[in-house]
Assembly symmetry: C2
Homo-oligomer: 220 residues x 2
């Protein structure tokens, strides 16, 4: 599958892109700066030993992807969505955004639209199916490239789109779980702030969450 990672030169986006390239997928890295996208793609190709990644401007990356993953800071969320709006029409957009306030990153922020993912869905309209996923996965886990005990909770209003994101998680070695409607993204985005607090309070680097009480391989 050809996966576009918009904002793919940031740590989270780059880690996701590298993971999917390692898993044999084709990746198109997007950036606001063409040269940075190309450089990041070259680094991924060097790491995996094949031409798995290409670098493009965000909008062109989104146009090239069969599925589009959005990994930008919340302050660039709306602008980036408007930039890629036409390019993602008819596709699934996987929104990784956490609505953190850069001035108060430790403070849980409820954005005007309830969650970043719900804001994305409202802005993009019904022709693009938005799911929220991967917000709780620290780039530290992605960088190490191994499976992890963390789960990826996937929220969105379209069940098939949720299953596509569950599959993306599986390629990275994570268990993806269908966590229900888009509205639940408020919880999953907020968990990221709570986990960052646990990192500080318990002096760890990459606290995550796992859902207990499920059979080992849920059928979804």
């Amino acid at each position: 599958m050809r996966i576009a990672v918009v904002g793919g030169t940031g740590r989270e986006g780059n880690g996701l892109a590298l993971g999917w390239a390692r898993a044999g997928q084709e990746v198109v890295l997007g950036s606001r700066v063409m040269e940075r996208a190309v450089r990041a793609a070259e680094a991924i190709n060097a790491a995996v030993g094949r031409a798995a990644a290409a670098g493009r401007l965000n909008r062109d990356a989104a146009a090239a992807g069969e599925i589009v993953v959005l990994t930008v800071p919340y302050d660039a969320h709306e602008t980036t969505l408007k930039d890629i709006q036409e390019a993602v029409r008819g596709k699934v957009l996987v929104d990784v955004t956490v609505p953190v306030d850069p001035a108060k990153p430790r403070h849980l922020r409820i954005p005007p639209g309830g969650s970043a993912a719900e804001e994305a869905q409202a802005l993009l309209g019904p022709e693009t199916r938005v799911v929220a996923a991967f917000q709780n996965i620290s780039h530290a886990h992605l960088d190490h490239g191994g499976a992890s005990a963390c789960d990826v909770l996937v929220c969105g209003d379209d069940a098939d789109a949720r299953q596509e994101a569950v599959r993306l998680a599986g390629w990275l070695g994570f268990r993806g779980l269908d966590a229900g409607p888009a509205r639940n993204a408020r919880v999953v985005e907020g968990l990221t702030v709570l986990l960052m607090g646990i990192n500080r309070r318990y002096k760890v680097k990459a606290a995550g969450i796992r859902i207990t009480g499920l059979p080992e391989t849920p059928s979804g």
Copy 2:
């Protein structure tokens, strides 16, 4: 310790009370109906084989407890808080309430005050220290009485009060974790709705959450 469980004849409250009684603590069960409280206390005493529990009206139970645990449906939350307000002054109130809408229990509900726990704190004032905890622990785990892989996330604005709730969790065989300020209760309360959806979707009974990436016994 003498622990009051207001709403202690409901399934969650009763399970918590039984667990603390098993752990050697003294429990005062509260109910709106004296007879029900007394009967529930007798059942606990029969189960643990000693006079660990007593039944009282909610307000009297709260007055008798050194720490007060509130386990009532959200629709009874405000009324019950007003009833016990004087009795809990100067104490720690552990709020287990999830703001579920009985008409739409599957739908994440953000209450006017952000979370049930924040509403409790606002209503009770600064002389009572409110913490949110145990909302994610299914009564199924409590009934089985054993340790579980689930964690208890504790939120509140007073760090010492959070540690008291962490201790209450430990007596039940759960790992309690300091999950930060009261505002984070929005996430933890909402998680309960998300977990109930996972129960339905994956056909399990008691999905819970565990924080990964911590040392086995966090020092807190």
